[in-house]
């Protein structure tokens, strides 16, 4: 059993100059056989492993990761947590996730700095205002805490916003979800990793999957750079690289990988204490506890595995934000990076069994997966453990592409895709 993090353990370790902290997770070699193997140690994969162990008692499991844990999109997003989607199945899974975030630090004994500072989506055209109003009605029907606010309220919450009624995209109002906010993205991966490891889950890093072995319609194991691992259940949670893994098993995916960039500014004094998304002009912004403005925008439009975005997309994002927040126009940018996002046709995720017995897939979170980590792990673990879709995961099955039962969030998700 791991020792708990607390103010007392902090004080105790201060006496040894913080040199004797126990490692947060082990670095085991793979065993010959596991009850289940998760491919991909990002937030979703680690959350799946954690809930498999915690909710379903499956502790003889492993998570294999090509790079290092939390090094993909979990560490590359803009940490926004919200649940204001339009369609009922989306609201169900994202709201489950947001509500799990509320107690996650206590649950994992790991401070993931959930900060429900409020989330605002600006309406800068008449049709965006109507679309957001529709979303807010759908959300309130589903029991979400949200409301539409006036330009005066927007200005009160975010004083730096450009309230000139004669600008190209004037603020006509905003959608406001007060329980939305941000979290520390790395800590979510680390907390789930530490929690899963404590229950006996092996997290194997620097271990690339090179093949998925099948006997007829069943999986029997996977080949990795650290040897063959025998298992009857494989959960592929590989985000932007999911197609390359599923190709190994001969399962074709409705996914295209694209690059989404984010950037942070130099740290400045507290300027904005709310997450603001300006979707008409394609940009969103929040301020980290360190004082950096965390900025995100749209994807590059072409298939891309390069993990670095184009200046075109970057310039578009920055232009949008300078227009919306003129005060930041002289701010210097500190870092910029890209993540490979897995886009589906309807911009909704895939949480599904496949035609291959024992092969499960959790992907397609596209540009907005961070907010969904706890809920996704929860329902995907349940799906894998019981070999049937969890009720919340059911609408997100791969079958929807054959049946035409799409969960269309591509215009409804209210974000810039």
């Amino acid at each position: 059993m791991k020792s708990r993090y607390s103010v007392f353990s902090l004080a105790r370790n201060a006496f040894s100059y913080h040199k004797d902290w126990e490692r947060a997770w082990r670095s085991p070699s793979p065993k010959a056989e596991y009850d289940a193997v998760i491919v991909g140690a990002g937030g979703h994969g680690l959350a799946t492993a954690y809930y498999l162990a915690k909710n379903h008692g499956m502790t003889n499991i492993a998570v294999v990761e090509k790079g290092w844990l939390g090094g993909g999109n979990t560490g590359r997003n803009t940490t926004i947590i919200r649940s204001n989607y339009l369609q009922d199945p989306s609201i169900a899974i994202y709201e489950l996730s947001r509500s799990l975030y509320e107690n996650l630090s206590q649950e994992l004994n790991y401070n993931m700095m959930f900060s429900p500072r409020g989330l605002m989506m600006l309406c800068q055209t008449e049709h965006e205002f109507r679309a957001m109003k529709r979303t807010s009605h759908a959300n309130r029907l589903a029991g979400l805490d949200c409301r539409m606010i006036t330009p005066a309220e927007v200005k009160e919450i975010v004083p730096i916003v450009n309230d000139d009624p004669n600008c190209r995209y004037p603020i006509l109002g905003a959608y406001y979800q007060p329980r939305g906010g941000t979290g520390r993205h790395d800590a979510v991966a680390w907390g789930y990793a530490r929690g899963a490891d404590a229950m006996g889950v092996d997290i194997i890093q620097n271990c690339e999957v090179t093949g998925i072995r099948r006997e007829g319609d069943k999986v029997v194991g996977l080949d990795t750079t650290k040897g063959f691992i025998k298992t009857r259940k494989i959960g592929v949670v590989a985000a932007g690289h999911v197609s390359t893994i599923m190709d190994l098993a001969g399962v074709r995916m409705p996914i295209e990988s694209m690059c989404l960039q984010a950037l942070v500014s130099e740290p400045i004094k507290p300027l904005i204490d709310c997450v603001v998304m300006a979707n008409t002009v394609h940009g969103y912004i929040s301020q980290s506890d360190k004082g950096e403005l965390v900025i995100g925008g749209g994807t590059d439009p072409y298939n891309n595995y390069s993990q670095r975005g184009s200046f075109t997309a970057l310039e578009h994002t920055v232009t949008a934000l300078v227009e919306t927040f003129p005060v930041i126009s002289r701010l210097r940018m500190l870092r910029q990076w890209g993540g490979i996002v897995d886009m589906t046709g309807d911009r909704s995720p895939i949480l599904s069994k496949t035609d291959v017995q024992g092969l499960y897939v959790n992907c397609g979170w596209g540009t907005g997966g961070f907010k969904a980590i706890p809920g996704s792990g929860w329902v995907f673990a349940d799906t894998m453990a019981n070999d049937r879709p969890h009720p919340i995961a059911e609408p997100f099955s791969l079958k929807r592409f054959t049946e035409g039962r799409l969960i269309d969030e591509s215009v409804a998700a209210a974000v810039a895709h």
Binding site: H241, S243, T244, D247, R252, M253, P254, I255, E256, S257, D300, P301, Y302, N303, N304, Y305, S306, S310, F311, T312, T344, G345, F401, T402, E403
Partner: protein
């Protein structure tokens, strides 16, 4: 920035001068056999996509030049273009041979069909 050259009018520009049209060589099954088309074929046509890490074949449109659609072969990791070719053509044979995974299967099936 990636630099695209239109094989139709020869104009050169960055990605903002062109429009990305997704995966190349997608065939609409209902065009040839509208009666016997299955849900799976229609799904493959609408949603299933080759998504290789490496050599990819795709469609682009010359937005600010001649306005024509054309094909391109591009590496999705380095973002280098390997070839530009006409909208009715298949890629150069050496690129077809370099293709992997679902693309290799596709070009083999096209070769067999001929």
């Amino acid at each position: 920035m990636i630099v695209v050259t239109c094989p139709v009018c020869g104009i050169k520009g960055d990605e903002t001068d062109f429009h990305y049209g997704g995966q190349a060589h997608v065939r609409r099954p209902a065009t040839t056999d509208p009666v016997n088309i299955t849900d799976e074929e229609q799904r493959d046509y609408l949603f299933i996509r080759h998504n290789p890490k490496g050599l990819h074949f795709e469609r682009w449109r010359c937005d600010r030049g001649c306005g024509k659609w054309f094909h391109a072969a591009r590496d999705t990791v380095t973002l280098d273009f390997k070839a530009f070719y006409g909208i009715t053509e298949l890629p150069p044979v050496e690129l077809q041979q370099q293709a992997k995974g679902p693309w290799a299967d596709y070009f083999q099936s096209r070769a067999k069909a001929r």
